[in-house]
């Protein structure tokens, strides 16, 4: 019997008018409350040469002092150092991870400089993918380590991008949201800065480097994002020291010729960077990472592993099937291993048995030997005993003979004295 489980009434999505206040306008608040209790993750990757001001900028951006020692210049290669911090502002808990490229740009041969960075980013995607593919997974609990924003520090040469920068950015642009910034911008004069910025942007465009585009589709942020994009790359100055300006203390760098104020928009673009990175687009950066970069990685990885989406008329579950095949393979391997182990075990047992048998035989032989020796000894002892008995017998005979002689001698002696006595007595009479 054909059953129709579900029939959709032929009304497509139609707008319904409400005759009163229902109350689901609180949904965004419910969502935000949920997210607040869970906390947020944000991961920033800072790529730039040693000494270009990465750590200082982070300190300035987040108004705090992250513990770190300045790196040395003689690292053999580029390595990434990740540090996590927990920040809290009003009721928002942020788990911030800052990843530093230690040793970037210090080597003589910089061919492979970009590789550790790409590997790190891929490793974070891989970790997430692994979690997502698990059978029993806990994604809501997962600490997201994927890089949400990559701040690329450009050295303030005033001319153009270095080839290392171009190569690295090209390798990273499909994997992460790149925000290029000009570091230590207080060393560039204002007119030079403008030329420098345009040169950089045109070089990026001509080399096909895709940097992060501030979203302009949402009306509330479209305007501010559009105006800010014009100033890319942001020329920033970082400072954690405060200088007295007027009657206030402000973050600044003091030179003999003047004071560069970090938060003064005429002096540098720090405020713009903070606006864009944190106050306006943090969520969008996270979303782009998840829906664009991660999905790209996932697609490539799965296709690499041999999965493919089948076309609609064949079986629709190829991922599941390959899962199953893998599981079979895995179980088969397990079985094989088990067999191997069993074989080995049997063999070992046999060996041990043989050994034990050998040992038993030895023992038997030893026992026999001992027995024989014992017998021999016994015989010897018996012989000796016989001898001794013979001797004792002889001795006794001799003793008896001597005693006899003695008694005979005594008797004879006694008789002689009697004879003598009788003679004496006879003479007296």
């Amino acid at each position: 019997m054909k059953r129709k489980w579900i029939s959709f009434l032929n009304e497509d999505l139609r707008n319904l008018s409400l005759s009163g206040h229902v109350g689901f306008d609180s949904l965004p608040d419910q969502l935000v409350n949920k997210s607040t209790s869970q906390g947020f993750c944000f991961n920033i990757l800072c790529v730039g040469e040693t000494g270009i001001g990465k750590s200082t900028l982070m300190d300035t951006l987040f108004n705090t002092k992250f513990e770190s020692d300045p790196a040395t210049h003689n690292e053999p290669g580029v390595r990434l150092k990740a540090r996590s911090y927990e920040l809290q502002e009003s009721n928002v808990r942020l788990k911030l991870t800052i990843v530093d490229t230690v040793g970037f740009g210090d080597q003589i041969n910089k061919d492979d400089s970009y590789k550790p960075i790409v590997e790190y980013i891929d490793a974070q995607f891989e970790a997430y993918l692994q979690e997502e593919l698990k059978i029993k997974r806990s994604l809501f609990n997962y600490h997201d380590t994927r890089i949400h924003a990559c701040l690329y520090f450009i050295a303030p040469t005033g001319h153009s991008l270095k080839s290392l920068d171009l190569v690295t950015m090209k390798k990273l642009d499909s994997k992460v949201n790149i925000i290029p910034i000009i570091a230590k911008a207080d060393t560039i004069a204002k007119n030079e800065l403008h030329r420098f910025k345009s040169k950089i942007m045109s070089e990026l465009v001509s080399n096909g480097v895709q940097i992060y585009q501030f979203p302009t589709d949402e009306e509330t942020v479209a305007e501010i994002n559009a105006t800010m994009s014009v100033h890319l790359p942001f020329a920033v100055v970082g400072s954690t020291e405060e200088v007295k300006i007027g009657n206030k203390m402000a973050k600044a760098r003091q030179y003999p010729w003047g004071v560069v104020q970090v938060e003064n928009e005429n002096h540098c673009d720090f405020v713009k960077l903070r606006e864009m990175l944190i106050r306006v687009n943090m969520e969008d950066l996270r979303e782009q990472t998840h829906t664009r970069h991660y999905e790209l990685y996932r697609r490539c990885k799965l296709e690499e592993m041999g999965f493919k989406d089948t076309d609609p008329d064949s079986k629709p579950f190829s991922l599941q099937e390959t899962y199953e095949a893998k599981r079979n393979e895995f179980l088969g391997e397990l079985q094989k291993k088990e067999e191997e182990m069993r074989q080995m075990f049997v063999m070992r047992v046999k060996e041990k048995e043989a050994e034990l048998k050998e040992a038993e035989k030895d023992l038997h032989e030893k026992f026999d030997l001992l027995k024989r020796t014992h017998q021999e000894e016994k015989k010897k002892v018996e012989d000796k005993k016989k001898e001794l008995e013979e001797e004792v017998g002889n001795f006794q005979k001799k003793k008896a003979a001597t005693q006899l002689l003695q008694s005979q001698a005594q008797q004879a002696g006694a008789q002689q004295t009697k004879k003598d006595k009788d003679k004496k007595n006879a003479s007296f009479t």
Binding site: L27, L87, H143, E218, R299, E324
Partner: protein, 356 residues
């Protein structure tokens, strides 16, 4: 569920397994809290989805209740022709609307189950419903495992199933118990006492108490489930709700004049029952729970718990099939009646895993 495993399955555990993070103090305002606004803007732009299913015998006022909840005519025409014969089989019917309030767009899908419990032999009448719910999970899963996925996977999974208990005043019937037992493992269930205007307040209280006892004795965990309480605040709030479950509700979509005000209510010869009056019935509690306070939570639990459970079973169930020579092709989960009961068994077997 042991204390340790509770935390790992709670969808709200915010203690993530992460590298050690040192707390840092900020010396000034940074602006991190702006991310909340960004979230809100993003959410309002993409809109929300909510899927509700109402189950109960015909004549209990399910459609009216839905209309009252969403203050609109959700059903253009009655899903079941009230004058005609009752449907011979259980047929689920869904209707989807987009409603908007103060800039918040909500895509609402209501699934009705006319014919439920109406047959003479109601054995396994829960199967079509279970199959429907699992179908939606299946659909989502298939979208999720694609190589090229959509940005936003359309969510048709049932977030809440409102079960209408007829106001007998005694206790839960065997059909109710069987149904609730099976469904509470698969979806969030909220039982309500329908047509509560036929019970006095005392009868209501004793009926409610009896139902709570029945639920407890049969191991039925209705929403809000105790094991998903995140912290003590949640617990106190949810405890208050749990005390009152099942809500005694009355639905009405007509307005009447009471004390000069226009209110939704049912007019009878002995008075007007005001739907939104807490003294008359507990409809406001239901509405607040479903819409105003726990809507997001319902979606989260569906996504993080029920859907994940389904996914685990689905990905594991292949190893229960016999491995013949060569490759076993997976077909979508079977739809036979017997399949349904074995599925029911399977869910029950995993009581230790996901029972609270």
């Amino acid at each position: 569920m042991a204390g340790t495993s509770k935390r790992s399955t709670s969808p709200h555990a915010s203690r993530s397994s992460s590298p050690k993070a040192s707390p840092c103090e900020m010396f000034g305002y940074v602006g991190i809290e702006a991310v909340l606004d960004q979230l809100k803007i993003k959410a309002m732009k993409t809109g929300f989805e909510f899927n509700i299913m109402v189950v109960g015998r015909s004549g209990l006022g399910k459609s009216t209740m839905v209309n009252t909840l969403f203050k609109s005519k959700v059903w253009k025409s009655s899903p079941v022709n009230k004058l005609g014969p009752l449907p011979q089989t259980l047929q689920l019917q869904s209707v989807t609307h987009t409603i908007e309030e103060k800039g918040v767009k909500l895509k609402l899908t209501v699934t009705d189950t006319p014919g439920f419990g109406d047959q003479i032999n109601n054995d396994k009448c829960w199967d079509p419903i279970l199959n429907y719910i699992n179908d939606q999970y299946e659909r989502y899963l298939q979208e999720e495992v694609l190589i090229t996925r959509q940005h936003h996977i359309p969510d048709t999974r049932v977030h809440i199933c409102v079960y209408f208990v007829p106001p007998t005043g005694h206790c839960l019937r065997p059909l109710d118990i069987e149904f609730l037992k099976r469904l509470c493992r698969v979806v969030n269930v909220v039982p309500v006492i329908a047509r509560a205007d036929s019970l006095t307040l005392e009868e209501r209280e004793s009926f409610r108490w009896q139902i709570q006892e029945d639920l407890k004795n049969n191991g039925i965990y209705v929403y809000p489930q105790k094991c998903f309480d995140e912290d003590s605040n949640d617990k106190t709030l949810n405890d208050k709700i749990r005390e009152k479950i099942p809500f005694a509700v009355v639905g009405a979509d007509r307005e009447h004049l009471v004390n000069g005000k226009c209110v939704l209510g049912r007019k009878t010869k002995w008075g007007i029952i005001e739907v939104e009056n807490m003294a008359h019935c507990e409809f406001p509690l239901l509405r607040d729970l479903l819409i105003r306070s726990h809507m997001q939570d319902l979606k989260d639990i569906t996504h993080n718990v029920h859907y994940e459970n389904y996914r685990v079973h689905r990905l594991n169930e292949s190893h229960l099939l016999t491995k013949g020579a060569g490759w076993v092709t997976l077909s979508p989960p079977t739809r036979r009646n017997t399949g349904g009961s074995s599925r029911g068994q399977r869910w029950n077997r995993d009581e230790s895993e996901n029972a609270c």
